[in-house]
Symmetry: D4
Subunit: 249 residues, 8 copies
Amino acid sequence: MNIRKLEDLLKKVRSGKTSIEEAKAQLKSLPFEDLGYARIDHHRSLRRGFPEVIWGEGKTPEQILSIMKQMKGKGQNILITRLQPEKAKTIQKSFPKSRYHPQSKVLTYFTHLVKYEGKGTILVITAGTTDIPVAEEAVVTAQFMGNRVETLYDVGVAGIHRLLSEKERLESARVLIVVAGMEGALPSVVGGLVDRPVIAVPTSVGYGTSFGGITALLAMLNSCASGVAVVNIDNGFGAGYIATLINRM
Amino acid sequence: MNIRKLEDLLKKVRSGKTSIEEAKAQLKSLPFEDLGYARIDHHRSLRRGFPEVIWGEGKTPEQILSIMKQMKGKGQNILITRLQPEKAKTIQKSFPKSRYHPQSKVLTYFTHLVKYEGKGTILVITAGTTDIPVAEEAVVTAQFMGNRVETLYDVGVAGIHRLLSEKERLESARVLIVVAGMEGALPSVVGGLVDRPVIAVPTSVGYGTSFGGITALLAMLNSCASGVAVVNIDNGFGAGYIATLINRM
Amino acid sequence: MNIRKLEDLLKKVRSGKTSIEEAKAQLKSLPFEDLGYARIDHHRSLRRGFPEVIWGEGKTPEQILSIMKQMKGKGQNILITRLQPEKAKTIQKSFPKSRYHPQSKVLTYFTHLVKYEGKGTILVITAGTTDIPVAEEAVVTAQFMGNRVETLYDVGVAGIHRLLSEKERLESARVLIVVAGMEGALPSVVGGLVDRPVIAVPTSVGYGTSFGGITALLAMLNSCASGVAVVNIDNGFGAGYIATLINRM
Amino acid sequence: MNIRKLEDLLKKVRSGKTSIEEAKAQLKSLPFEDLGYARIDHHRSLRRGFPEVIWGEGKTPEQILSIMKQMKGKGQNILITRLQPEKAKTIQKSFPKSRYHPQSKVLTYFTHLVKYEGKGTILVITAGTTDIPVAEEAVVTAQFMGNRVETLYDVGVAGIHRLLSEKERLESARVLIVVAGMEGALPSVVGGLVDRPVIAVPTSVGYGTSFGGITALLAMLNSCASGVAVVNIDNGFGAGYIATLINRM
Amino acid sequence: MNIRKLEDLLKKVRSGKTSIEEAKAQLKSLPFEDLGYARIDHHRSLRRGFPEVIWGEGKTPEQILSIMKQMKGKGQNILITRLQPEKAKTIQKSFPKSRYHPQSKVLTYFTHLVKYEGKGTILVITAGTTDIPVAEEAVVTAQFMGNRVETLYDVGVAGIHRLLSEKERLESARVLIVVAGMEGALPSVVGGLVDRPVIAVPTSVGYGTSFGGITALLAMLNSCASGVAVVNIDNGFGAGYIATLINRM
Amino acid sequence: MNIRKLEDLLKKVRSGKTSIEEAKAQLKSLPFEDLGYARIDHHRSLRRGFPEVIWGEGKTPEQILSIMKQMKGKGQNILITRLQPEKAKTIQKSFPKSRYHPQSKVLTYFTHLVKYEGKGTILVITAGTTDIPVAEEAVVTAQFMGNRVETLYDVGVAGIHRLLSEKERLESARVLIVVAGMEGALPSVVGGLVDRPVIAVPTSVGYGTSFGGITALLAMLNSCASGVAVVNIDNGFGAGYIATLINRM
Amino acid sequence: MNIRKLEDLLKKVRSGKTSIEEAKAQLKSLPFEDLGYARIDHHRSLRRGFPEVIWGEGKTPEQILSIMKQMKGKGQNILITRLQPEKAKTIQKSFPKSRYHPQSKVLTYFTHLVKYEGKGTILVITAGTTDIPVAEEAVVTAQFMGNRVETLYDVGVAGIHRLLSEKERLESARVLIVVAGMEGALPSVVGGLVDRPVIAVPTSVGYGTSFGGITALLAMLNSCASGVAVVNIDNGFGAGYIATLINRM
Amino acid sequence: MNIRKLEDLLKKVRSGKTSIEEAKAQLKSLPFEDLGYARIDHHRSLRRGFPEVIWGEGKTPEQILSIMKQMKGKGQNILITRLQPEKAKTIQKSFPKSRYHPQSKVLTYFTHLVKYEGKGTILVITAGTTDIPVAEEAVVTAQFMGNRVETLYDVGVAGIHRLLSEKERLESARVLIVVAGMEGALPSVVGGLVDRPVIAVPTSVGYGTSFGGITALLAMLNSCASGVAVVNIDNGFGAGYIATLINRM
């Protein structure tokens, strides 16, 4: 039942065409999203600039293209994550203006300009150079969602002076995303240097007992620095998303 | 070397009492925190209302009392986490005005009123009643750090209507802390209902394959809802702290 | 908004006291459980004989007694699981007619006779004698919920003839609950002998690499016999509950 | 010793050709399956419509074809699970009327019509679109075994209204199979909404700490909703099988 | 149906009192253990000197005493493993001639002399002194079951000469049980020195990453020496049992 | 220093050519294997028919051929395990009379007939058909080392009658090797039926929570049947080797 | 056979009292430690000042006292690790001059002065105050073994300036032992600041996902800084021991 | 700010061109590495012969070549680890004088002769032949960094005499690197035979429960021999690096 149907029902109640008992029965089992819940949701998405995000993994190019056409039709910007290069090629034939970011395996397509709604800068930091693909997923996501983003790469704790010499940039960011594999120590050090929320992203970079990112994840969850929260291994998108929510506040 | 000493040195350089070579040598090995880094740190702590927090576990009452006296002397408010009841008793003999929260095992002592610096409300939600002690650690921490806090307890996903009927409270919060043990599903549902950052706290509530909170932790890290970040198992304090950082923005 | 309020609203719409626009607005944010969802839930519980079940762990005797008094007031039967003996003692002072099952740590209190709604017999089987406490939790739960229950204890696979000699009882059961620790092999063997759903319950019985029931759980999940589904370690209650749902069909 | 041989023996006892001692000796070591145990098993399979199921993994196309020919000769319907596409191609050359389901990697071949013996509908639900292949294995299995099956896909908990709007379909199902990867929360929510047995199937969908389905599995085992039992990761077949057993009751 | 009943049935068949059809029906569902399977089992136990073994853990002293009295009545020797000292005290009041081994927590009671059926010597070796309790469980078990047992304690691999100097004793044993915690390396070294089967027993001795014996277990399973098989952590009894089976050959 | 050199030294001592001090010094640092330890080892290998076994994994065909030529030169029989088919092809060009077993990935080459030194039969049992490659590694190993081997395949516990009907073969074996993946229950059942040592071999057969054989391994270590010892996952060779040691006794 | 016996034998060979054949036989089976291997070991221990170390866990006070008396008799210094306070009390009654370190649970007893053989200073660093007991075990061990030891406590990475301000002390140490629990990041930072070997000691300090030190251990093994090696969780003794070996070089 | 700039500033202070306040401000925020910290770091690298090491994994040949050219320009020697053969080919086109070690996947390029700064010999030992690639990474690293290196391969504990016969080489080494997979026992045995620091390197050699090196790692961490420290699985480079630090002492 949508708003129009609800209006009809109420009119019929007023006119006496529908009895109060009957109306009660209809309203009692009312699927609430038909009452606008989902629609409000929908409005919110358009109003706030959070279009749908497509998780590219496990979807065929055809499925993705079909979703993209629907979204394009509604005038939405499109973000696809975890998209393999071959799939991207297929998609770019139909969407030649889309842009594929090979490092982060993200594809973006814009129907309209992104409005900067983030109030400050999100700083994305990595421990090593091999963490950059995950960091870039966060960067593209945060930019797509209307944030100014800066990056500070390869400042891992084994050469702590590389990080400390950038104290000013650390302090001028409003939200920090810290991406690290191996021993995952960087968010603890960053968290001790700033007064801002730190979103820690473990990466699957490493070998042996790095266990595909578990070691970095555990280290981040056990951070002795306060002000650090963690997302899933390699989840640059998730970090960019929550950083956006925070940066809009 | 503190600022006064630095000033002295520079004066001696100007007056010629200290040669440039000698000054260079002294400045080269300058412990940078003496240049004010740590002091700035210290100032920040006083200025922003983040006094020291004492981790009560593994410290004797004597050690804790000694730290408390120093802090009281500086006029700081005091927060002690993970303090066993017997230790609290000993401490309250010396600090009779302190308040012990037995559920969350937190002790607070105030030398001055807390100033509300959080811009909105932090809503702390639990899945079950046994998750409340961890939630209360977050509540007391967030209040101690100057936030208005509301709670919504026992709204786990097995009775989803309990949560949905509180949609308005969910939507009016600025930051949400969601505390859950067992299958840890609540942050995913909450994250899907709100546009605000959700800090998820897994608890060690459960038995068998709950593995002391690991299951809840993993579920939260894998949340299909965007906008969720996670802290360590039972880490109510950490959730309250990062929620504070966000709520000040 | 409950049904009475809804009726009032509809009457006001009919009489013109409330405009259609206003009614629409009120109904749009209608908390759906107030529309009877929760109430239907409540009715269902009374109608089908599934009173509330109290998880005794992590609740004080006072909290439990308070819930029990409410339930008794509504004429409901009461089942409390995972109740430590000392707590049971306290409770039995106020509820002297309640019965405590020390093996399974379950307490039952009846305000009215249980109606047998289960259509057949639930057979509860254990591999060893040390699995019996978990089995008994399933037995008491299933009986409490209106099932005829039989037991077949200590028929583990190391003496397979003990099980095979009871083929008739296995075949006459409508649902089977198989409880085993250690290597957890029994559900696979039982599942190969019967045409009925088998609910497997791993127990924490064992030592060393039994890992508190994980080995039994894994073995059950990997059962080469079809028709086996698994619940959490030591979760006799859960097995009794789903067996009840099946036996009513 | 089969029934015919047993009859011969008994006749010889009656006629005195075989002494009681000798008969005792022969019967004492009687391999019981020769007494009809295996045969009854065989009869049961034919009578109840549960033909053999072939696990395609680790078998060569030749081995599979040989089994299929035997089964076809006996007039049985054939279900092969976990069959790679290349193997399916080979098989379909010999069995051109067989049908291969590429999503679920299941092949079916019918020698006779399936009789609907399931009393109600089995509803198969997924959290996401990438869980559908596992769900389809359950769907095909349940249909093959004589059930009416409905599906409700992509109703994960991050958009809880998608699920809640289908309350009627949830409530009209007799058995529910809930398939989910990532945080595996959906069975808990579904289990809280219905009075019917819920078979939860964790899938290996996800990345990082989803650990190939372990997180979903653990979450399901720890479900705070009663009435949920779990099968192995990606085990759509097992879920369809036990749901069939239940739906026949 | 036992042998007497079978005889009765056959007599009735001969005499015509029971029809062949009826006899067939009775024999078809014949519980095979009644046909002597269990009895043979029983005979074997008496004949070969393997009386029942009682697992003391999780049984009350009353339950244990009841089993012991039955066994004593049948003239069997009794072995109880994993028996806590307090339980042993209670039991020894009723069985004053029983012997309790406090290190290995084993209790033995003899109604008759043990006959040496083991053909050679079982040598029980430990890496350290803290492994001795587990080793003693193996020693008492093997002696109880009729073996000559020698011991070689505290010959861990960090002082390899301690082991090598006992080469003759190693070579004169027929079966070797090697008990080790921590890094569990001893069975590999022993296995490389002898031509006899080595039963490796990991113990829970150690701390930190010894993980209660898991490290030792894994090391033993990965032994680069051939001729090593492994039992559960701390399972001295199991090692003694299988060593007995081998030593009788 | 070998025996000849020792003799020389002693002669020189006797003749006075070497002083006692000098002899002491030489003997004190005597590499003991030169005293014959390694040689005895060598003799033992030739005398008992245990030629070297080559682990094919991680060796190039060239390395393997070089070892084989040395061994062939000494008249030894050769067993190579875990040899990939492509490597086998290369090897068979130089050793055309060698035999490659593709299922078990074992290659054998005989310079002389194997002498049957095993006193009885080793019975190799599998739970399923996909366990056969591992079982065959045990079979070939045991035959190579001079045992009579029988096999009993596909008798898993879900159809327990398949196993029970072979009771006689079970009982006539001297050593049993039981190979199973998935839930790994078969060794427990077999161990309860026989009086002989059972060597359990977990296989990596299965999916999801079979965890590449860990579940089967854990189940076997926790066997409720006595008389079972376990080797590494997929270690058919190890099982064949220790079974050989036992069967020679 | 010790050196004296060897001398006797050689003399008898020279004198002809023992034939060469007989001498060969005796020498061939010569337990090599009797040839001085163990004794050299013993000499080395006395010469280099490494007396025996007693692992106190799992030994009774009586056992420990007996070992101590033997050692005292030989004039050795004594170090006992992991000694519970109650045991220490008992021991100090017999050894009143011994010193018990309650934090590190180490007991020392000196029969002679320790000679400083370490060439430089060992610096022991902790991340937090709760790591100090483990650090102290390393300190006492290293001092006992003849090293000059300095400490630098509570300089965890969340306040990185605390560490950096001590750069000179870091650089003047010859070997560094870094002790940390929780996220275990400190050794990586220290390893990046110095040119000396860093021995990392994970501690079991933490809660939730610190997993009793596993997280710290994994982080240390994955250190992005070169020059770091790791010992077992809480193994302060082991760190002190290897640091001693290095410091003597 | 570098030393020259600092000198300028001080001169301006002396001359009065810069006020004391202004100088204070500049010095207070002085990036400490500009004060020479990083430069000292840089100098140290040149002076001590530790050029940069490039981790080849996850870098493109182009990225690596760019780094190499910079380094060559500065006259540094170059070491690249974990470099896949195809990448090495590309690199060797531009650096034809570089040498690729295919076993260890290490590439070296020398602009100047390595100076032997290690004071003694580093002995690299392996348990098996398949451990050699990891060992070679340690060998090449240690040689590159100026050490004399010897090797002792395939002396695993299952044939302990192979190791013992090399006692002299063991004792003459100054640092020992022990590389082992499977049960990882070798470092414990070596650690018991020598007085020198042992760096243990677990390798991923093995199958089944070797878990890609975890078993070896755990065994090494639990070594009953003192004087052993451990690096990450397959981390030959790390072992070579810390051994170098020790060997320079």
